[in-house]
């Protein structure tokens, strides 16, 4: 079996008396979509924050591309190739869609400490950014400020930014959230092809999408992974049915 791209071991994080992450271990292997599901308050966001580097775990290790990234900040992990999308769209709202994506291209290319050349005249920035927008179908809206994009378009923009980073792993936090059924179907098809580029750790509430996409599913409840396996294994797992599917069905 291939070496995992992302490997989490015995991660723990408590807030006061609350064990938000309680001994989580998780692997993401090349080419796969690993879905992380669980009821609200299960600790999915806390886990994502720790993987991305915006929250420091109390103990445990996170290895990315064979390197312990526990001491690295958000930006350093992103530069290593951790492409993240946010649960609630997090964009530079005054910037156009294109300029939002260009930031990612800029980061990937090299230092941001370049003071002379205008970015809008720099085709090494605009062209890859436009290509990422085209892939997500947002190219016609490239010059619209992010603040004026619809909710669904902002979700697409989040994905386009992650794409433009050319990441080694996608960390997608509820990419379908708030999208209509049509948008969700289109995005599902898109993510299906994306796993060839880089494996995806997918946090998602949309069960149709999860069952359609996931190679493996891990179920998080009260900070613990109570089950991990293929779609069929999870569907039939008694604890999962009781703890999770029963509640949301």
């Amino acid at each position: 079996m291939a070496e995992p791209v992302l490997s989490i071991r015995d991660l723990r994080k408590t807030f006061g008396a609350l064990k938000a992450t309680d001994g989580v271990s998780l692997d993401l292997r090349p080419g796969e979509i690993h879905a992380l599901i669980g009821p609200n308050g299960a600790g999915k966001s806390t886990l994502i924050h720790q993987i991305a580097g915006s929250l420091r775990p109390d103990s445990g290790s996170i290895r990315f591309l064979g390197q312990d990234v526990g001491e690295l900040g958000v930006a350093a992990r992103a530069r290593m190739g951790l492409g993240r999308s946010f649960q609630i769209s997090s964009l530079a709202l005054e910037f156009s869609a294109l300029r939002n994506v260009m930031l990612a291209v800029q980061s990937r290319q090299a230092s941001s400490f370049r003071f002379l050349k205008g970015v809008m005249r720099d085709r090494s920035l605009t062209e890859p950014a436009m290509a990422a927008l085209e892939r997500t179908g947002l190219a016609p809206r490239a010059h619209v400020p992010a603040a004026e994009l619809s909710h669904g378009e902002r979700r697409q923009l989040e994905i386009a930014i992650a794409l433009a980073l050319g990441p080694k792993t996608f960390l997608l936090d509820e990419p379908m959230a708030g999208m209509g059924p049509e948008g969700s179907r289109a995005l599902t098809a898109f993510l299906d092809g994306l796993r060839q580029e880089a494996p995806i750790l997918l946090v998602e509430h949309d069960m149709d999408a999860v069952f359609a996409l996931a190679d493996r599913i891990s179920v998080l409840v009260y900070g613990r992974i109570i089950a991990s396996g293929t779609v069929d294994e999870i569907r039939s797992h008694p604890d999962v049915r009781r703890a999770y599917l029963g509640e949301t069905a």
Partner: protein, 332 residues
């Protein structure tokens, strides 16, 4: 969007303001009214200081309430270098004797360098915080330097330091008001160009994004802290340069250049004109000096009315003068 209506209109207004600022002293000179030349020089120097603050405040969203520190440091650098050169006393004698200088370009270089060097630790500590903490800490650091200047008697302490003979510029007679204006105006144009280039560069993109959404910036792999620190230092250097010119204009530097009121005025200049706008500081400085001059001619209590005007601008005219005239900012 770069060639959208708002953009060209804003540029047109800006170029018009810059042209007026140039025409004003020329007309005054032709009419034999040197006082108005000095007024225009004051506008240009304050505009330059505000261009500096606009890098941190306008582009980076860093509300520095301590930029008087850099303005004053620039002023003191000019005063101290000039006084040592005048008195033929070395500032230090090891490892080599440095006699100060009365050459403007040398003075400017030192003013920018010293301001930047002071801004580095202040920024490094202040930028660990954000929001209201940042405002108060930058204010506190500026107060620290203010009190030091007040209590350190070597360069005049509370009484300030006179520049007996204005620093010189090769090929110009800086004692002539119009020549001094030309020097200040030229530097203002250069600073505006630097601001525009900076804003449109990769660094500018990262800085603008750090103001809008620092979380997003970090998530694409660009750490906000070094970007902000660099902006703070660049900003301080430009404001320090303006301070050196201001000292030369008044031929005097005192702790009042370092005071919190000065920091407040610099913020006022930026906001009156339009935060983050290229020509905002020019509009703000022209408007401020005009208000000061016109109201000051009518009543001794002009600051009372300045307060009312400012309050009106904050409550009802967001976006400043350039914002009112040119509409919302567009970033490509």
């Amino acid at each position: 969007m770069r060639d959208g209506v708002g953009m060209t209109r804003e540029t047109a207004i800006g170029l018009f303001l810059v042209a007026v600022l140039l025409a004003f002293p020329l007309v005054a000179s032709a009419m034999g009214e040197p006082f108005y030349i000095t007024l225009a020089t004051r506008m240009a120097v304050l505009a330059l200081a505000a261009v500096g603050l606009n890098v941190a405040l306008g582009l980076g969203g860093l509300v520095s309430f301590g930029h008087a520190a850099f303005f004053g440091i620039g002023g003191y650098v000019a005063g101290i270098l000039a006084s040592h050169a005048f008195n033929q006393e070395p500032i230090f004698s090891t490892p080599f004797a440095f006699m100060g200088s009365d050459r403007m370009p040398v003075v400017w270089l030192f003013a920018m360098l010293v301001s930047a060097l002071v801004a580095l630790p202040i920024g490094a500590i202040s930028l660990r915080t954000s929001g209201v903490y940042f405002i108060m800490i930058t204010l506190a650091f500026a107060q620290m330097i203010y009190y030091f200047a007040m209590s350190w008697p070597a360069y005049g302490g509370e009484d300030g330091l006179s520049i007996l003979s204005r620093n010189t510029f090769p090929g110009l007679n800086t004692a002539n008001p119009l020549s001094l204006f030309a020097v200040c105006y030229g530097l203002l144009l250069v600073a505006l160009l630097v601001f525009a280039v900076l804003r449109d560069s990769r660094f500018g993109a990262a800085l603008l994004a750090s103001r809008q959404n620092a979380t997003r910036l970090a998530a694409v792999g660009i750490a906000p802290f070094p970007v902000r620190l660099a902006a703070f230092v660049i900003s301080a250097a430009i404001t320090g340069l303006a301070g050196a010119l201001y000292a030369d204009l008044n031929r005097f530097v005192s702790p009042s250049m370092l005071s919190w009121q000065m920091s407040g005025e610099l913020i006022v200049l930026v906001i009156l004109g339009g935060t983050g706008r290229l020509f905002g500081p020019v509009a703000g400085a022209m408007l401020f000096v005009m208000i000061e001059f016109v109201l000051g001619g009518i009543t001794e209590r002009w600051q009372f009315f300045l307060g009312l005007i400012l309050l009106g601008v904050v409550l009802f005219a967001r976006g400043g003068l350039v914002g009112v005239l040119a509409g919302k900012v567009r970033h490509g």
